[in-house]
Amino acid sequence: MNPKRRTRLTVVLFLLAGAGVSVTLVLLALNENINMFYPPEAVVGGEAPVGTQIRAGGMVLEGSVDRDSESLDVSFVLTDYVGAEFPVRYSGILPDLFREGQGIIVQGELNGEGVFRASQVLAKHDENYMPPELAEMSAGHQKKPNPLNYDR
């Protein structure tokens, strides 16, 4: 093997090793940061895991929003309007489009008592746009999505 080939071989081996390591790391990172989405039915029915980062979604039940008078703690109930509903607790500022009767997504963990501790509350971005997860779930309750919405 002449020196030029040897250099080239070193480079190739170096690259392969680097690529292998990075692919492994990437896949590990991906695996750890996937948030499964569960509709109310799955949360109530016990399909959703307890103590794991997940996403859940539903409509905010009318009259269920309860703000603490001292802090920013808030609780509300998410429902699919066909029998399944579960309570959510959150502390912080709710998005502008958070409203009773509207579809939202919460990210966080489900605890042993079936209460969802949300770290993030995501609302629809405007009057007509519906997160795809919800659009499917509540086809019967929702207006057809308006294709003209632009949200960046």
């Binding site: 940061n33 499964m36 502008d96």
Partner: protein, 651 residues
């Protein structure tokens, strides 16, 4: 009637693009000078008619013509005129019309500026661009006609523009972004033309390089503006979310960055040629993929266009044709390319290769994270997932740090090989200084700083130090060429952005709390007193405006964040109040009203956040400076000389 003219102009432009494609590609293939000679005129016609079409739509917005469905959906009589103007590209149909107009603008630029190219080559480039334009205009005409009428049920009032988009940022962000996206079609067309003609020499790289640089500069500017807009307009102070829509623009940027570096090697050393071609194809394909992601609504995204499968399918097929066709051509032609690659590890070639590898891996990482939810849903039969932000950070940040480490060495390197003694002699003290500053400054200025921040700062100083030292050395020898200055500015911009990202991520303070009028919050050397809320009204909204008296190290000022209620759509919007500064932003936003006149309030102090965008601006400026280099002007001089000689001959 005027509206129909706009539609008609679009149809004419469609036919003209068809002619551009046929005359350009066919003429070059058959070597018919007559056919090829007609192409620039056709391109000009295409631009004129698209401009007319765009003008008609703009006119419809400005005069509130609600018989046009698109105007009704995105405008309102109360909207200020400048937002009526920018509302033209505020939603799908109009923004795509803008995209096409820009595309034809780039085509025209190639027709005018590319006169120094061999005629057959230029005809092929224009032909390929005509083909692309044909697809885009067909998409607009058949799936998203902006001129569709609401007749006879013409409404008296429009639904208004989404309030998030009623902002200066939206006036400038999409056009800049599109200039970049579409600009890479030029590099793509050059690559395809080169493959078609079999002309894959260093000259090809030199012709293609300025175009790619300009497109890259625009894309950089567009992304920077987008990040800035999201920061102040979404109301909560985030500047990057790894949202699919952002990733859609970031992937072509990463590939494009690799492309402009790889082009340098192809031009100067005649190597990496097939790799550069592949990057040119990839970059534009990613732009198209971005269009697909944004326009089809396939991805889980809190902010994305809503779903319309016909559009998605059209773009998907178009994407398949463009990517598949160009890659097939690539596979057929590149087997013949031979490069004599002889360089050592300590050479510019090797480091530019490393740059390319790191950027392409980063791009693949973003691509995987962006498309994974879609693939997961397809293969599991409908299960929905989302990929969390930590995934992107975990992969992207280390890669960028590696890139930074390598970037610091770049200015010292020679082509082919660099003596080890010189590397050590020139970089040793820079390394020592950056280590000292990067670790020392945070220890002195901030209380508790993580090792990640120190590492990032060390690397940023490393880049600034080695580039600065090299700049001084070059200046001593006389005025350096603009291409060199551009490289310096862009690389320093990267370091500046790096500092911004590191400091703002690590040292930002964020506080969500309940405040009643009269309440005070102390935050470091800042104090905020909530004075109260009053009702104010804008042209098309009512707002609750909070007043906060801020005292910052003795300086007093007021911040007035608003909670706006837009009348037409009844949308609620958070309008943050920001006191901007080079070393820190104070950022205040109102959450929701609580009982007894109290409000949920978010108070943030974001140190060095502006450096992120400052870095972006510098990078973009660097890209432009590099293009202004006299090396590219010399081509023009030669052409002018030729033209003068030709004129003399005819006389």
């Amino acid at each position: 009637m005027i509206v129909e003219l706009g539609h008609l102009a679009l149809v004419v432009a469609f036919c003209l693009s068809l002619l551009v494609a046929v005359f350009g590609l066919g003429g070059a293939h058959r070597a018919r000078a007559g056919l090829m000679g007609a192409v620039p005129a056709l391109v000009a016609g295409q631009f004129v008619f698209l401009g007319l079409s765009f003008g008609v739509l703009t006119h419809a917005f400005l005069v509130d013509d609600f018989s046009v469905a698109y105007v009704t959906a995105n405008s309102n009589t109360m909207l200020p005129w400048y937002y009526k103007f920018s509302a033209v590209w505020g939603a799908h149909e109009g923004s795509f019309l803008l995209w096409i107009l820009i595309m034809s603008g780039w085509t025209l630029a190639v027709a005018v500026k590319g006169r120094e190219l061999p005629p057959a080559f230029q005809a092929r480039v224009l032909g390929v661009m005509g083909l692309l334009n044909l697809g885009f205009i067909a998409f607009l005409l058949f799936t998203s006609n902006p001129f569709e009428r609401l007749v006879p049920m013409t409404p008296g009032e429009g639904a208004d523009l989404n309030p998030l988009l009623q902002d200066f940022g939206l006036i400038v962000h999409p056009p800049m972004l599109y200039m970049g996206y579409v600009g890479f079609s030029v590099a793509f067309a050059f690559a395809v033309a080169a493959l078609l003609s079999g002309r894959l020499d260093a000259a090809w790289a030199r012709w293609s390089r300025p175009w790619s640089n300009v497109a890259w500069a625009f894309l950089t500017l567009g992304i920077t503006l987008g990040s800035w807009w999201a920061y102040y307009e979404l109301g909560w102070g985030g500047w990057w979310f790894w949202d699919p829509v952002e990733n859609a623009s970031f992937m072509p940027w990463l590939a494009g960055t690799a492309l402009i570096h790889s082009l340098a090697v192809s031009e100067k050393r005649g190597t990496f040629k097939s790799w550069t071609l592949l990057l040119a194809i990839t970059t534009f394909s990613l732009s198209l993929l971005g269009a697909f992601i944004v326009r089809s609504g396939v991805l889980t995204s809190v902010h994305a266009f809503a779903v319309d499968p016909t559009r998605g399918l059209f773009i998907l097929i178009f994407l398949a044709l463009v990517v598949g066709g160009s890659l097939a051509l690539y596979a057929m032609r590149t087997a013949t390319i031979r490069s004599r690659a002889s360089y050592t590890l300590a050479s510019r070639e090797a480091f530019l290769l490393l740059n390319n590898i790191l950027l392409v891996i980063s791009m693949a990482l973003v691509l995987l994270g962006t498309l994974y939810p879609l693939a997961y849903e397809l293969f599991t039969g409908g299960a929905k997932i989302s990929v969390g932000v930590p995934y992107f950070n975990a992969g992207f940040v280390p890669l960028m740090l590696l890139l930074s480490a390598a970037l610091g060495i770049a200015p010292v390197l020679n082509w082919k090989r660099t003596p080890a003694g010189r590397l050590l002699g020139r970089l040793g003290w820079v390394a020592a200084m950056s280590l000292l500053l990067g670790v020392g400054l945070p220890l002195v200025l901030a209380d508790a700083v993580s090792w990640q921040v120190m590492l990032t700062l060390v690397l940023a100083f490393w880049i600034l130090g080695s580039h600065g030292a090299d700049l001084v050395r070059r200046l001593r020898r006389g005025t350096p060429p603009l291409a060199y200055v551009g490289m310096q500015v862009a690389h320093m911009g990267f370091a500046v952005a790096l500092i911004g990202v590191a400091v703002t991520s690590a040292l930002s303070v964020e506080k969500d709390l309940r405040m009643a009028p009269g309440d005070t919050l102390e935050l470091g050397d800042l104090s905020f007193r909530f004075v109260g809320v009053e009702r104010v009204s804008g042209p098309n909204y009512l707002a609750d405006q909070g007043e906060f008296a801020v005292v910052e190290s003795g300086r007093r000022y007021s911040l007035r964040p608003q909670k706006r209620n837009y009348l037409a759509r009844r949308n609620v919007m958070t309008e943050a109040a920001i006191d901007p500064g080079l070393t820190r932003d104070v950022y205040l936003s109102l959450g929701e009203p609580l009982e007894d006149g109290a409000w949920a309030v978010r108070i943030q102090v974001k140190p060095f956040v502006r450096w992120i965008w400052l870095g972006g601006l510098l990078m973009s400026l660097g890209g432009v400076l590099a293009v202004l280099d006299s090396r590219y002007r010399r081509l023009r001089v030669k052409r002018d000389a030729r033209a003068a000689a030709g004129a003399a001959a005819t006389v």
